[in-house]
Amino acid sequence: MKRKLYQDIRFYIAVLIVIIPFLFPLVWIIVSSFKTQSQIITMPPEWIFTPTLENYKSVFVENKFGKFLFNSSLIAVLSTLFSLILGLPAAYTIARFKQKSLGVFILVARLMPGISFLIPWYIIFSKIGMTDTFTALIASHMLVGLPLVVWIMVNFIDDLPYELEESAKVDGCTRQGTFMRIILPLSKPGIMTASTLTFMFSWNNFMFSLALSADRTKTLPIAIYNFVSYAEISWGRVMAAAVIIIAPAIIITMLFQRYVIKGLTMGAVKG
């Protein structure tokens, strides 16, 4: 009994040693966001201090983060929605009719470096006057989201029992009716996984927004990156901005941990 307790203590110390390095930078960002510039650069770091909300205030008032928060949310929500609308029917037929080459074609987009499309997009969007529009930003983010939705949903629909569809067919249901009334309701966990990841990838996207957005459609990652271009970096504001931008991802992960793990490790456990 005593030996068991001793082993348990040793195990939990090992767990702590493992997770502290992963957690520490995030805790440090959050703590620093409540500090003044001089407190942040004081070494050794102070853990007991009077927290200030000044950084958050200036980020929202002077740097207009409210607007960027809105832009990021709009782009992430709509690109996720449209990725689902295009991706779900495609995933259904790819899974059911074994359209392997079609699946591979869409998945090539997952392998390709995003920058391969960036210069042509920039040239074409400039020519037709579409840089700095929400349409261009949403379409570019969808090129990440759509393959993700297809990839996750093909794997998911593959595992659904075929018998249900058969009996719907016998009852005179069309295939699109089967898709709407049987496949979609059964796919809820898969759709949760796909949309959580698609949303987060759009929310975090930097490269596409860097080239395609300007004042009107600027997203949070670009806004926070712009802090670097000031002569003296206000680290307190950077940290406050970082907290604003990472908070949704952290909340989503805590709420939907199961789905996020599934999505991120997908393809590893299965074919």
Binding site: P44, I115, A242, Q257, V260
Partner: protein
């Protein structure tokens, strides 16, 4: 009206194989296939946005120039260096941690959630936070080295340390992915080999070396492939932390192509680098997927 509705419904039912995937395929064609062909065309021109009247067909000259350019080889080398260093450490560390965590315990879900956080937090924000950490005079990094009695480093400002410093951020972000994949793999291992090993009196290290690791190998390989594909394309953290500097010391292919395209607006030469990057990424991805297939066939 009703008749029309029924007939179009019938039509969709009969042709669902191509009607359902059509919008997605059209979207990918317009947004991906067309740009790649366009890039191929531009790579044969001397098009530069800063030079009026440019855009003439010059054949393969951009490619010839690229192959003569020291900066190109430097970026190819740095891309591989970064990928191998980061993925190598992530794999060893990830599998080791997974072996420690591979048992039921109270709080396992909390640990898993914490491990997910580095992966889901915005890379730009993470890059900036680590930039402060690496700041030579006011950063926490050198302070920690001093406490440990080690010599301080210039981190991102040093030619030699910049790639390992950026790789460390990637390791922080992505080791958890290897841990989670390896944990899923460990959970699916058969119990019989372990039972007979215990009967035969095998020592824990022997079990690890001759049973667990070989059985886990296909899973580890998949994790390595997935990580390599993404590490190769790393852009966000490198661009926010160094933009390829100091000099060109952290200029991977991605960063090199971006600065040619959007720093100098030399679309012609940028396009040739993009196609080289595209070829290298697709080539090594396919090679790795093929190797993985060979590996799984053998098992």
């Amino acid at each position: 009206m009703n008749q029309f509705f029924r007939r179009s419904n019938d039509f969709v039912d009969r042709n669902i194989q191509w009607i359902f995937p059509l919008p997605a395929v059209l979207f990918v064609l317009i947004m991906m296939a067309f740009p790649v062909i366009f890039t191929f065309g531009v790579s044969m021109t001397d098009w530069s946005m800063t030079v009026p009247g440019s855009g003439h067909f010059i054949g393969l000259k951009n490619y010839v120039n690229m192959l003569k350019d020291q900066r190109f080889y430097n970026s190819v080398w740095l891309t591989f260096y970064f990928t191998i260093l980061a993925v190598g450490v992530e794999t060893v560390l990830g599998v080791a941690i997974a072996l420690v965590l591979n048992r039921e315990f109270i709080g396992k879900n909390v640990v898993k959630t914490i491990l997910l956080l580095p992966m889901v937090t915005t890379p730009v924000a993470i890059g900036l936070a680590w930039t402060l950490f690496y700041e030579p005079t006011i950063g926490l990094g050198n302070y920690m080295l001093k406490i440990l009695g080690l010599p301080t480093s210039k981190w991102l400002a040093s030619n030699a340390a910049v790639i390992p410093s950026i790789a460390l951020v990637d390791i922080w972000e992505w080791t958890p992915m290897v841990i989670l994949i390896a944990l899923a793999g460990l959970a699916g291992l058969p119990v019989e080999p372990y039972e007979s090993a215990v009967v035969d009196g095998a020592k824990p290290f022997q079990i690890l070396r001759y049973i667990t690791l070989p059985l886990l190998m296909p899973t580890i390989l998949i994790a390595v492939v997935l990580r390599c594909i993404d590490a190769f394309k790393t852009f966000d953290i490198i661009y926010t932390m160094t933009r390829g500097g100091p000099g060109h010391s952290s200029e991977t292919l991605n960063i090199y192509a971006y600065s040619l395209g959007f720093g100098y607006f030399h679309f012609g030469s940028a396009s040739s680098v993009l196609l080289a990057l595209f070829a290298i990424v697709m080539g090594s991805s396919l090679l790795m997927l093929w190797m993985r297939k060979l590996g799984s066939d053998r098992i």
